[in-house]
C-alpha cells in the first residue's frame, strides 16, 4: 500500500516538474524580425491574418543565412545579422566567431559600436581566429550548447558548403538553438531555414531581400528598405537641406558636401 502511495507521489511530482518545465520553457517556435514591414508582409504571404496562429519569421532550432550582395555590403549584412541575432538571443549569450580571413579583411567586432545596436556588455562572447575547419567546429559546438542564445558566424570566403550547413542545421535543431551565418554567396545552395540578401542603401538604410524561406511561401521579390532602429549617434549626418546654421557650428559639427 505504501509503495503504491509513494509511486503515486512520485508520479505527481513528475507531473508538477513537467508543468514547471512547460512554464519555464522559452518560446521555442521562434521570433519575428522586429521590422514591422517584414513581419507584416510575411504574415500576409502566409495567408493568415490572425496573430494567434502566425508563424514566426525566424524559427528557433534553425540556421539563418545573411548574404551581402557584394563584398562591400558585408558591414551592412553584418549589421542586419546582429539585429536578427539580438531578436533571437534577447538577453542570452551571443557567441561571435569568425574566420581569420574575415578578421584580416574586415576586422574584429567592436563593442562600442555594437552597444549602439543594443548588444549588452556582458552577453558577448568572441572566439577569435579559429582556422576555417575549426570555425565550423566552434559553430557546431556552440550550436549544441543550450546556454548560448544565438551563434553568429562570419566568414569572408566560400567556406560553407551544403554538407556543412546541413550538419549545423541538424545540430541546432537537436539543441533548439539558433544560428545566424554571414557569408558571401556560396557556390552551392545551403541548407538554411532562411536566406536574406542585404546591401547598403543611402542614408543609413539596409536593402533587404528574402531569398529563401524553408517550408513557407515567399512574398513577391520586392526588397525592403529598412532603417535600423539603434540609439542615435552623438552627432548626426548633415542632411542635404540643413546647411543654414553652419557658421555657428563648432569644428566637429556635421558638415555637408552635397550641393
Amino acid at each position: 500500500m505504501q509503495s503504491a502511495g509513494s509511486s503515486m507521489k512520485r508520479f505527481k511530482i513528475a507531473q508538477l516538474k513537467e508543468k514547471l518545465r512547460q512554464l519555464e520553457k522559452p518560446i521555442l517556435e521562434g521570433v519575428d524580425t522586429g521590422f514591422p514591414e517584414i513581419d507584416h508582409r510575411l504574415t500576409v504571404a502566409d495567408g493568415r491574418h490572425s496573430s494567434a496562429a502566425r508563424r514566426p519569421v525566424l524559427s528557433r532550432g534553425a540556421v539563418h543565412h545573411v548574404v551581402p550582395q557584394t563584398m562591400c555590403d558585408l558591414p551592412a549584412a553584418l549589421g542586419f545579422a546582429i539585429h536578427l541575432t539580438l531578436q533571437i538571443a534577447q538577453h542570452h549569450m551571443i557567441l561571435w566567431t569568425q574566420t581569420p580571413k574575415a578578421r584580416h579583411e574586415w576586422g574584429e567586432p567592436y563593442l562600442p559600436g555594437l552597444l549602439r545596436h543594443g548588444v549588452g556588455v556582458d552577453q558577448f562572447l568572441y572566439v577569435a581566429d579559429p582556422s576555417a575547419r575549426d570555425w565550423l567546429w566552434v559553430l557546431e559546438e556552440a550550436g549544441a550548447c543550450a546556454d548560448v542564445g544565438c551563434v553568429l558566424g562570419l566568414c569572408a570566403q566560400k567556406e560553407l558548403s551544403f554538407t556543412a550547413t546541413r550538419r549545423l542545421s541538424l545540430c541546432v535543431q537537436k539543441a533548439i538553438t539558433t544560428m545566424v551565418l554571414v557569408s558571401p554567396a556560396q557556390h552551392q545552395a545551403l541548407a538554411t531555414a532562411t536566406q536574406w540578401e542585404v546591401s547598403a542603401a543611402a542614408d543609413e538604410h539596409w536593402r533587404v531581400l528574402l531569398k529563401r524561406r524553408a517550408g513557407a511561401a515567399l512574398p513577391p521579390p520586392h526588397p525592403w528598405l529598412l532603417k535600423p532602429a539603434y540609439a542615435p549617434a552623438a552627432y548626426e549626418w548633415a542632411s542635404s537641406t540643413s546647411h543654414a546654421s553652419t557658421s555657428q557650428q563648432e569644428v566637429h559639427a556635421p558638415r555637408q558636401f552635397i550641393q
Binding site: I13, K17, L20, R21, E24, C72, D73, L74, P75, A76, L78, G79, F80, I82, L95, H104, W106, G107, E108, P109, Y110, L111, P112, G113, L115, H117, V121, D122, L125, Y126, V127, A128, P130, D134, V138, E141, A142, C145, A146, D147, V148, S199, A200, A202, D203, E204, H205, W206, A231, A233, A234, Y235, E236, W237, A238, V251, H252, R255, Q256, F257
Partner: protein, 546 residues
Amino acid sequence: MEASRRFVVIWFSDWLANISCPSEMRPACVIEERSMGAYLVAANATAQKLNIHAGQRLSEARVLAPELVTYPVDWAKSTRHLQRVARWANRFTPWVGYDPVADGLILDITGCAHLFGGERALLDHIVTQLARHAISARAACAGTIGAAWALAHHAPTTPVILPQGQEAEALMPLSVKALRLSDEQYRLCRQFGLDRISHIMRQPRASLVQRLGAGVIERLDQAFGQVAETVDPLRPPTRFHVTHVPLMPIQSREEVMFVLSNLVDDLVAELHRAGRGARRIDVRLIRTDRAVLSVSLALSHPIQLATHIVRLLTERLEHVQIRLDQDLAIEQLEMLASQTDIMSAHQDALFTSLRQGQKQALAHLCDRILARLGQAPTRPLLRGRYMPEKVVRFIPITEPLLEPPLKTPLKTPLEPWSSPQKSEGAITPEAHIRKGWLAARPIILLPHAEQIDVIAEIPEGAPRRFRWRRRLYEVVMAAGPERISPEWWCEELPHSPDAMGQTKASLTRDYFRLEDSNGYRFWLYRDGLFTRETVLPRWYMHGFFA
C-alpha cells in the same frame, strides 16, 4: 632522517656557449647588446684558452682574438633548453629543481641512487649523457645542497662523491665563493682577508655575524648541514596522481585513449573522495625510447566529471602527433591533477533550476574550445582609453566565469566613445545610454588601420573621395571631425622620427564618418593636425558601420 639525505648538484659550466654555439671549434663567444655596447655573456672553451671570458666588452675580446666568432644571446632558448634538461633529469629522481644561483640543477636523490647502480655510476651516467649532447657538466653528490654545490663548482676534479659527515675536510680548502655568496658578501670576505672556508671556520661566529651579516653564516650552516635546505621541485608532488604501466607497451592511439579513460575514472574517484575538482590535468605518455609526451588541460572551473574530461582529452590528443609503431610504443601513462579546487556541492532538488544546468553547459563549451583551439573564448572589456583600438580588449574567460556578471565596464570612464567635446559638459556614459545616444562607433574595426589616398576640398575638411584597396569611393555624406587626442599620460615615449620626419607614436586624430554613393559607411581618420603636428597628414581607414 635528515642526516641521510643525498643531493646531487649539476653545474653546466659552459651553458650558454654550449647551447648557442654547440659545434664551434673556433674561438666563439655569446654577446648581449647593452646600452654601453656589446658585452660577452659567455665564451666557449677555445676562446677561454685565449683569456676571453664573460663580462668583457666585445671590443676587448676582439683585441685578444681578432678571429672571434660572435653569437647573439638568446635567453628564451636558454630557458627552454634548461627546462628540457630538467625534464630529462626527472628520470633519476622525481625531485628536481633549478639551481637559483647558477645554470644548473639540484637533484634530491635520497633513496634513488641504488636504482642506477650507486651514486658513482649515477654521476658518471649523468655527466657522460650530457657530454654526448655537448653539454659540459660538473656534478657532485653530498649530504647537503651547499656542500654538493661547493664541490660541483670548486672541486679540482669532478664528479665528486662526498660521504656523510665529511663536509668539513672537503670544504675547508675551497674558496669562500663556494658558499654561494653574493658579490657583495664575497667582497666583504675578501676585505677581511677571508679567502678560504677554513679562514671563516676559524673565526668566532659572533664577530662573523657582526662583520659579514647573517647571510654568510646561513650559507655556511647550510653547507655543513646545520640548517636544513630543500629543493624547490620542478614538478610539485600532487595528491592526485594515477599511473598505469601496461603489460605490453601500447602501440595504438585507441588503446592509449582507452587506458586514459580508465585513468580518468581513477583520478575522478580520488578527487571525489577528497571533495575536490580538477582545474588542471596533466597527462604524460612515456614512450619506450624514454621520450615524454605531455599534454595539459586547463579547465575553467573545478571538474569531477569523467565523461567531460575524456572528451576534452580526446579532442586535445587529436591534434597531437604521436609516432607509434613496433619499436616506439607507450610503456607508461601518468595522469595528475596538478591544480584542484574545492568542489562546491550541487544539490539536486525538486526545483533544479534550468539555469544552473545551462551555466554548466556554457562552461563545458568554453573548456572544449580551450582544449581544441588552445585559447578560451574571450569577452570584451571596455577600458577608459581614448584611442579607439585600445578601448576594447578581449580577455579570455577565466575562473569567475560570467559570475559575478561583468559590472565594471559601464563604471569605468568611457570618454573615448562619448563625445568629449560635446558642449553639455561632462556626461557620464550611463547618462549617454539613458539619453539613448552614443558616439557613433563602427561595428567592426580593422586590426590595423590601413592607409588610404584621399582627396579633400580643404586640408582640414572631410574627404571628397578616397581610394581604399584599389577602389575609388565618392563621398556623399560626412559627419565629423571627431577629434581624439593622443593619450599622453599612458603613451610610450614618441619613437624616433620616421622617413617623413614625423614622430609615429602620438598624433591627434580627426575621425570622420562617411557614406559613399552606394551607401557604404566608413570610419576613417586623418593622422595629425594639419601644419600644427605634421606637414602632410595621412589618412587611414579604421572601421565600418552597419
